[in-house]
């Protein structure tokens, strides 16, 4: 009889009721198969025409004034800034871009909440929380988050767990570790203690009769034991060294691989470019830092065998204006964007839905086909969230938490035939 079988038998004999997650064997934890949602907040409000809604013409952006051609990769168009060209070339068949979103706010806090929940009003769950509530109930770190407060205000289903850094994670899963190389106690002493506890449990089982208090202690012990088994699964996945730049993402994906995390929320900043849009550009600009982070997500997911389970969602806070007098760009409720990244081979990517006019005027589209339509709808974050909720199967059953998008306005975002393209750019 192995340790696990012994624990289960002991529990049965004593009438212990397990927490549901406590019954999951380690093997199941490692073989989790649900979707993993990664939400990346482009903190500060990413400028759409520096990103997925490129433009041409004077005064919109520096590259448009200079006449630099827009990046094209398959059906995807991106701005010729940062490392966008290489990024689009590599991921074109995984990209589903949503442009021309009206956030109805110019506020950072309201915008970040609107992008992560779909709603401007308070009280709605961030999409990571909904996903964690559906696919990670009882998981110790179902929603791992390193993002600002506005985007992670919980609706009460799941508490966001701050992403620990690599050393913190190591200490969390191996409590005897004081650091990467030092232990608090001699490991041999810890092993003896654990062996003694196991022996005591054996004795309890042998006695055949457990008093209520003993039963309670046994229950707690077994629950703790199962949690430790889960954490041991995490320990086995921790690398010798963590990434310097992307430890938050790496820790989140380790959690997902170990079956303790369903949703990961992180942020990459530097997008509030009132002063100079060139802060986005170059090898160390905020765009390159963002695309490097997105690239790392997929590279690390491939290493950990998670690629087919991943949905990556990049959201900002609002759109931005044309160039202001300082060479920067201010807030604009028109022009917000989402970037969705799907697993390779999904057949749903290499598309753009929604658009803005030549100088980023608001435009309307047909909610079924995506085609420009003067009688169509203005896209909002609610439309996009509604579609993703249905795609992931995480739509809240409580009407008060639903997106409440009218049936006629529901968009067919995950139908490969819904395409707007980039009608404001020359063919």
């Amino acid at each position: 009889m192995d340790r696990r079988e012994f624990l289960l038998n002991t529990a049965k004999a004593s009438g212990v009721i397990f927490p549901s997650w406590g019954l999951l064997p380690l093997a199941n934890a490692q073989a989790a198969s649900g979707k993993i949602l990664v939400y990346v907040h482009a903190d500060g409000g990413i400028d759409h025409d520096s990103w997925t809604d490129p433009a041409i013409g004077m005064g919109i952006n520096n590259y448009t004034t200079a006449g630099t051609p827009v990046v094209r990769a398959g059906n995807i168009a991106m701005a010729p800034m940062g490392n966008n060209a290489a990024f689009a070339a590599r991921f074109q068949n995984q990209l589903l871009l949503v442009n021309g979103i009206n956030t109805a706010t110019n506020s950072h806090e309201d915008g970040s909440r609107r992008f992560s929940t779909g709603k401007l009003e308070m009280g709605f769950a961030p999409i990571c929380e909904l996903h964690a509530a559906k696919y990670g109930p009882g998981q110790p770190v179902a929603w791992m988050a390193r993002d600002d407060g506005g985007a992670t205000i919980s609706a009460g289903f799941v508490t966001p767990t701050p992403v620990p850094n690599g050393d913190q994670l190591r200490q969390l899963v191996t409590p005897n570790a004081a650091s990467a190389t030092q232990d608090f106690m001699k490991q041999s002493d810890v092993d003896k203690t654990i062996a003694a506890r196991d022996a005591r449990l054996q004795a309890l089982k042998a006695s055949g009769v457990l008093l209520p208090k003993e039963r309670l202690i046994t229950e707690q012990f077994i629950a703790g034991k199962e949690a430790r088994i889960r954490l041991e699964a995490v320990a086995a996945l921790i690398p010798a060294t963590f990434s310097q730049q992307f430890a938050d993402i790496q820790v989140g994906l380790i959690g997902a691989q170990a079956g303790i995390t369903a949703a990961i929320q992180v942020a990459r900043g530097g997008f509030d470019a009132h002063g100079n849009i060139e802060d986005y550009n170059g090898a160390n600009g905020s765009l390159t830092r963002l695309t490097n982070a997105l690239t790392f997500i997929w590279d690390e997911a491939a290493v950990r065998g998670l690629t087919d389970r991943l949905l990556v969602m990049v959201g900002g806070e609002f759109g931005r204006t044309l160039l202001n007098g300082s060479g920067g760009k201010d807030h604009n409720n028109v022009g917000g964007t989402y970037m969705l990244m799907l697993p390779p081979g999904s057949g749903l990517a290499n598309r753009t839905v929604g658009y803005t006019g030549p100088r980023h005027e608001q435009r309307t589209i047909n909610p079924r086909t995506g085609a420009p339509d003067p009688n169509g709808i203005v896209l909002s974050p609610s439309h996009v969230h509604q579609a993703i909720h249905e795609y992931l199967g995480i739509a809240p059953s409580l009407p008060s938490l639903a997106m409440s998008v009218p049936a006629a306005e529901k968009i067919s975002l995950f139908s490969s035939s819904m395409v707007t393209g980039h009608p404001s750019l020359p063919a």
Partner: protein
């Protein structure tokens, strides 16, 4: 006065001046005597949309700082994008007495002791007689709650009228609020904007 403003207990505005690139540890409660409550309105407007909205907000204003309190007569501008006393904006020269601008299309009026230049949307740069702006930027006008008007003639003889109304002015996009609304009228055409010095 240049420094950071935050809201204290009971909503009292508090001022922390910048001294040699460092934010003062002392908080000076503000007696807000700005016309139309433009200081509080400006702080509120920027705070509504700024990044990290609960941190102290950079403000430029005119008034008197006492030992323990500050009296503010004129709110000039608040910028949500300034994060510390180490990186204060230097886009307005000390000699500027009237500075107004507007967008879409962009225009700008700059008055100093020696020059008065109006840059209009069509890139036309017009020199105006400085004498017409004698009152602008003085201690007297900083305490003046009513709108005031400056009138002059363009080189081609066309009359120009500039109205400066001391009330909070913001575009709601740039994380900036100003202390006055400005309208420039040339014949039947008019452009509107905000003033950071007036």
């Amino acid at each position: 006065m240049r420094g950071f403003v935050s809201e204290g207990g009971a909503g009292v505005l508090q001022y922390q001046p910048c001294v040699n690139g460092v934010m003062s540890q002392q908080l000076f409660p503000i007696d807000d005597k700005t016309p139309n409550g433009s200081l509080r309105a400006g702080v509120g407007a920027v705070r509504q949309i700024m990044l990290h909205r609960y941190r102290p907000l950079y403000v430029e204003m005119q008034g008197d700082r006492g030992r323990t309190t500050t009296t503010v007569y004129q709110f000039q501008r608040a910028l949500g994008t300034v994060e510390s006393c180490k990186a204060l904006p230097s886009d307005i020269a000390p000699k500027v007495r009237l500075l107004a601008n507007g967008g879409t299309p962009a225009w700008r009026l700059v008055v100093t002791d020696a020059t008065a230049v109006l840059e209009l949307p069509d890139k036309k740069s017009l020199k105006l007689p400085v004498g017409a702006f004698k009152a602008a930027g003085t201690n007297q006008t900083s305490k003046e709650p009513l709108a005031r008007f400056y009138e002059a003639q363009l080189p081609d003889g066309q009359p120009i009228r500039i109205e400066v109304n001391p009330q909070m002015c913001s575009d709601g996009k740039s994380e900036t609020a100003y202390g006055a609304r400005v309208t420039v009228r040339i014949e039947k055409q008019a452009v509107q904007g905000c003033a950071a010095r007036f």
